[in-house]
Structure formats: structure tokens, C-alpha cells
């Protein structure tokens, strides 16, 4: 059992507290919330791709499923926001479980294409089933999160809520990373036949990981929906799935902080170079290519290697 390293979560908490205390501009707080959501999604993908070896290029679909479940329940049926979260989680979990049953038997390129195809189908359904989703013009009138008399309609309040959740999840992820699950998943990633012959039910484990990450991603989708109050299919297209792959890869596959690092760097790009919006995808593609070609382990991997050299 490895020692817990509380620093990533503490550093994140410190930075978020500093941002919360100093930044008053709602726009920047909003950017921070969105980056946190990207970071969680990228971390979810990292657990699939970097730990378990499941190539999923359809994560945007689960993000969208969560957002639409919460959005529709809140906007159309007037549900309390909080009640929609478990529904979003379970909905995505079940869909992922059903889809994963056949899909996760595939490997490599086939798995990539199958998840990509799934993502595209969901995307097309979001566009075409306008009687539920509002179609390409989107879904409006999504309510606010409210519980125990606390109201999270304002961006400042939402930033606080999101930060608390974010740091909590980071801490949970650290517990996960330092438990035996880290080994179990990496054994499966490295060799399914070896894991099998050492008694690991790889099919079942992969299915559960895939479904759990889908549920987690859907919850992020719900958080997104209640933050922006308006969702349309564009946010859940293949482009977002690929952005997540880029974030996880650049940040560092197989390192628990990888998704967060990648999301912060790539999430800040469009903000820092707001004038260079045209070059956003160029930067994504370029960084992704460079990391895959020359920087195995991404940024987190490089940092960890440097630290080991010093020690």
C-alpha cells in the first residue's frame, strides 16, 4: 500500500481559494468552473486510457447524456436539480454497461472506432430528437442547484460549489491511485491474458470501470448543464471527445494528475490567446502530436521522472 500524496489536492485547493478570494470578474470564475469540468472529464478518460487501456473516443457522449438528462428533467419536468444527479449517473452507467458488453471485447483500433461510432450516434440523436432535446437550437430554461437553503445560481456561488466538489474528487482519486486498483487496472492494460490467468475477471473489471467512468462523466455533464443553463449538441460532439484525449495525453496518461494538468494547460489556451481563436485546434493537434511522438508519459510523466532523478 503506497503512501498518499496529499499535495496535488492541497495545491488545487490553495489555488482555487486564491482565485476565489482575488478574482471578482464573473467571466474568469466561469472559465475556472469550465476548466474544472474539463479536468474531471479528462481524468475520467485517463482512468480508461492511461490505467485500464480502454481507448474511448466517445466520452463526449456520456458528458452529453448527463447534461441532457439533468437539463431535460429540470427544464421540461421541473425536477429539483439535486435529484437529477443520481438519474444522470445511473442513466450513463446503464447505457455504458450495455454498450460496453459487446464493445469492450474489442481492442485497439476497433475499440477506438466503436466508441467513436457510439459517440457520433448519440450526437446525431441529440440533434434529431428535437422533441426531447430541443435539437440543434439547444435546450433552454435549465434551473439552478439549490439545497439546504443554499442557492447556487450566481457564478461566485457556483465556483465555490464546484471547487469543493473538485478538491473532494481529487482526494478520492488519490485514494484510488494509491490503492491496489492502480495495479489491477495497469495489469489489465498491460496484458489481459496474464491478468486473466492470475484470476482477474478482466471483462467484468473493464465493464465496471467503463460504466463507472461514464457515470462520473455524466455527473460532470449535469454540473455543466446547471452552470451554463443552456446546452446544445455542439458541446458534445466528436471534437470534445478528441479534446479530452488531447488533455489526458498531454497531461500524462497513467498519472492521476495527468488529466488535471492537461485540462488546465489546454483549457487556458483559448483564453490566453483569445485573439488567436482560429489557432486553437492547431495548438491542440500540435501539442497532442508532439506529446505522443516525443514525450511519453506527458507532462506528469516528465515531472515524475525529473523528481526521481533528483532523489
Amino acid at each position: 500500500m503506497r503512501k498518499i500524496n496529499p499535495f496535488p489536492a492541497l495545491i488545487a485547493a490553495f489555488i482555487l481559494a486564491a482565485v476565489g478570494l482575488t478574482v471578482e470578474n464573473e467571466y474568469y470564475l466561469g472559465v475556472a468552473v469550465i476548466i474544472m469540468i474539463h479536468a474531471l472529464n479528462a481524468t475520467g478518460l485517463n482512468i480508461l486510457l492511461g490505467y485500464t487501456g480502454i481507448i474511448s473516443i466517445g466520452q463526449a457522449a456520456f458528458f452529453g447524456i448527463g447534461a441532457y438528462i439533468s437539463g431535460v428533467l429540470s427544464a421540461t419536468y421541473g425536477w429539483n436539480a439535486l435529484l437529477t444527479f443520481p438519474v444522470a449517473f445511473m442513466g450513463a452507467f446503464i447505457i455504458a454497461y450495455i454498450i460496453g458488453w459487446p464493445v469492450l471485447r474489442l481492442h485497439g483500433h476497433y475499440l477506438a472506432m466503436a466508441t467513436l461510432g457510439f459517440g457520433m450516434i448519440i450526437y446525431i440523436l441529440m440533434n434529431e430528437m428535437d422533441f426531447i432535446t430541443g435539437g440543434p437550437s439547444g435546450l433552454m430554461g435549465i434551473g439552478d442547484i439549490e439545497f439546504f437553503g443554499l442557492y447556487f445560481g450566481l457564478d461566485q456561488a457556483y465556483f465555490v460549489l464546484m471547487s469543493v466538489y473538485f478538491v473532494f474528487v481529487l482526494f478520492m482519486l488519490e485514494l484510488f491511485d494509491k490503492s491496489f486498483l492502480h495495479y489491477k487496472l495497469k495489469f489489465i492494460k498491460s496484458s489481459e491474458s496474464a491478468s486473466n490467468s492470475y484470476g482477474l475477471d478482466t471483462v467484468q473489471t473493464k465493464l465496471l470501470v467503463f460504466a463507472f467512468v461514464a457515470g462520473f462523466t455524466a455527473v460532470n455533464g449535469s454540473l455543466y448543464a446547471f452552470f451554463v443553463h443552456f446546452i446544445s449538441p455542439v458541446s458534445f460532439s466528436l471534437k470534445y471527445s478528441i479534446e479530452l484525449v488531447a488533455m489526458a495525453t498531454v497531461g500524462g496518461l497513467g498519472y492521476i494528475t495527468g488529466g488535471v494538468i492537461g485540462a488546465v494547460i489546454l483549457g487556458l489556451v483559448p483564453e490566453l490567446f483569445a485573439s488567436a481563436e482560429d489557432y486553437e485546434m492547431l495548438i491542440y493537434g500540435g501539442l497532442l502530436a508532439v506529446c505522443v511522438m516525443f514525450v511519453p508519459g506527458g507532462i506528469a510523466g516528465t515531472l515524475s521522472r525529473l523528481r526521481k532523478k533528483d532523489a
Binding site: 483500433h109 461510432g117 466528436l238 478528441i242 484525449v245
Partner: protein, 287 residues
């Protein structure tokens, strides 16, 4: 009957794109996620040469294809060759990254708007039993068939073609027999890009060209390849035509928005039910 004619036209294009996947898959075991970008590139190149520079089609077409071939060679040298750890995940990711870059370069060169290529010849409609077909469509089908046939000869008869097939059977053995495996890999990317670009040229007057067309057409080409059985030459042709027909048939019975979903349903169904495709050989799994 009308759906048959339009299905054949679309199907020929899918077949060509599928052949591009197969050429690369057969020599490297890799699925090139940027294959669709070559199709877009073909469209953009013919737009530049034919519509902007006003070259005669008969010169512009080969020139576009050769340019794409060179891009394909460079693509392999830059992206595939430089990946240090050639794991599945890395190779998939690098072709995705490359497709983002190609698309973005195209956007900066040719802009965000759809470009119109114009007709290669005066358009005429031809009455056929149960529907009409334009001479444009006939050209797509005929030239597509020619390209497939030339490619078939190339792979069966030429030195490079045979070397490509040897590499797929056994990379090491092929190397020992004096085949330059790296050369073959580079070539296969070149030829795949050329075939994809040819498809892009052919379809451009009918669908016009936008910088982000590559994604969809690439995925549909993949669906065709997998439908026919990845790696199988005639499987790709049959898969392409079958997908074209399925799509245009589906358009007659459901809202057109769902048409694009057909390809993905096909991908998923085939992968679930018969990953080897309709005409592919089953490969033994090694433990």
C-alpha cells in the same frame, strides 16, 4: 429505383476511401484516422487547380492526386515514423492529432466556407428505368471503378504491390527477403493518400468541399471497409457500395438527419456481430 443510382454514386466514393484504409492496414496493421482528410485535400486541391487556376481537368486531376501522394509520404515520415513507442494507443492518437492539424491547415489555406469546384463537364441527366442519373454520377462510378481496377493490378502485379502484401503477412520475413519494409510503409501512406484524394476530386462537384468534410467521409469509408472486412480488397469495394445503397435507401424511409447515423450503426453492428466483416478472413488470436 432512384435510390439505387444515388446509392451507387456515394458507394463508389466510400469504396475508394475504404481502399485507402485497407492499403495502410494491410502493410502496417494500422487504421489511419486521418484518411478522410486526404479526401478533403483532394477536393481542395482540385478546387485550387481547376477552379482557381483554371487548369484543364485532365491535367488538374493527376496533379491533385500526385500532390496528395506527396502529402501522404510526408505524413508517414513526420507522424508515424517519429512516434517513439509504437503502441496502438500512440499510433491512434498520432493519426488523430495529424487529422486535426491537416484540417486546421486546410481551414487557414482555404477558409471556413464551402468552396464550389464547378462541373468538370456539362451536366446532363440521363433517363433510366425508375429514375434519373446525371453524367456526373456516371463519371464518379466509372472513374472509381477504373481506379479500383488499376489499384488491383498495382497490388497484384507490381513489385511494390507484392512487397506490400508480403509485409502484411510477415514483416520480419519480408525484411529478410530483401524487402525494404520502411519504404513499403511510406509508399502505402502515399498510395492511400492518392486514392483518397482521387475520391475527393470525383465527389467535389456534387457535394462541394468544406475544410471539415474529411471527418465524416473518413468515418463512412471506415464503415465501408469494416463492413466488407478490413484488409479485403473486393470487400472494401462491396462494403462501399453496400453502405452507399443502405444510406440512400434509409433516406427514403426516415428523416434525412438520421442518414449519417447509418454508417455508425453499421460500424457498431459489424464490430459486435462479425468483426471480420462480411468478406474478411478471420485472424487467429495469439495468447
Amino acid at each position: 429505383m432512384q435510390f439505387l443510382y444515388s446509392g451507387l454514386t456515394g458507394g463508389s466514393i466510400y469504396a475508394l476511401v475504404a481502399l485507402g484504409y485497407n492499403i495502410i492496414y494491410n502493410t502496417t496493421g494500422l487504421i489511419n484516422f486521418a484518411q478522410g482528410e486526404f479526401v478533403m485535400l483532394g477536393g481542395m486541391l482540385i478546387y485550387t487547380l481547376f477552379a482557381v487556376f483554371g487548369m484543364p481537368f485532365i491535367i488538374a486531376f493527376p496533379l491533385a492526386v500526385v500532390t496528395a501522394l506527396i502529402v501522404g509520404l510526408l505524413f508517414e515520415r513526420v507522424f508515424i515514423n517519429l512516434v517513439r513507442v509504437k503502441s496502438d494507443i500512440n499510433l491512434i492518437t498520432v493519426t488523430i492529432a495529424a487529422s486535426i492539424l491537416l484540417r486546421d491547415f486546410a481551414m487557414h489555406i482555404w477558409g471556413r466556407d464551402t468552396v464550389t469546384v464547378g462541373e468538370f463537364m456539362p451536366v446532363k441527366s440521363i433517363e433510366l428505368p425508375g429514375g434519373v442519373i446525371s453524367n456526373q454520377s456516371i463519371m464518379v462510378i466509372a472513374v472509381g471503378a477504373c481506379i479500383a481496377f488499376i489499384l488491383h493490378l498495382f497490388l497484384k502485379r507490381s513489385k511494390y504491390g507484392r512487397a506490400m502484401r508480403a509485409c502484411f503477412d510477415d514483416m520480419t520475413a519480408a525484411g529478410i527477403c530483401g524487402i525494404n519494409a520502411v519504404m513499403v510503409r511510406v509508399m502505402s501512406f502515399g498510395v492511400a493518400a492518392a486514392v483518397g484524394a482521387a475520391a475527393g476530386v470525383l465527389i467535389s462537384p456534387i457535394t462541394f468541399v468544406t475544410y471539415d468534410d474529411g471527418l465524416m467521409i473518413g468515418l463512412k469509408g471506415f464503415a465501408a471497409a469494416i463492413l466488407g472486412g478490413l484488409g479485403s480488397f473486393w470487400g472494401a469495394v462491396a462494403g462501399g457500395i453496400l453502405l452507399g445503397l443502405l444510406e440512400s435507401f434509409a433516406a427514403t424511409i426516415m428523416p434525412s438527419g438520421y442518414k449519417d447515423a447509418i454508417a455508425f450503426v453499421v460500424i457498431l453492428l459489424i464490430l459486435f456481430v462479425k468483426p471480420a466483416g462480411l468478406f474478411g478472413k478471420r485472424m487467429a488470436k495469439r495468447v
